[in-house]
Symmetry: C2
Subunit: 80 residues, 2 copies
């Protein structure tokens, strides 16, 4: 039996609860009781997250295009 | 000393790790290694969350307006 001390268990338990609630809020699943100010903070977090995801997706697309262009150039060189 | 059995501790530990990573991804802090498909799923989650937050914020504003209108009507009635 692998036991950690009770302190770290208690902390973990609280941490899960906290993170679960934060996730539910971010996903918009647990918004009741939140006032306008809290909602605006959450909106900001979501906007920042979304803009980073979109930026990263753009980078991935560019990477793919670069790979395809390189392959195309290689094929053209081989066919000459 | 308050001890839970080791199974629930182990599960908790994994859960924290999982939720922490999910939160970091949603916040756009941990996107390296994610491919376009994963990023698009994340984008969808963020969009749904954001639209729910905006909707709820709209409701809160409407609530406040209703309260103010009611107060206004009451004041007008009292002044007559």
């Amino acid at each position: 039996m692998q036991l950690e001390n009770s302190t770290s268990y208690t902390m973990s338990s609280n941490e899960i609860e906290e993170k679960t609630l934060e996730l539910r809020k971010i996903k918009g699943e647990e918004l009741h009781g939140m006032d306008i100010e809290e909602l605006q903070k959450l909106e900001k977090v979501l906007e920042v997250g979304l803009s980073r995801v979109l930026e990263t997706k753009g980078e991935r697309f560019l990477d793919e295009i670069t790979v395809l262009q390189r392959k195309g150039a290689q094929l053209m060189a081989e066919n000459q």
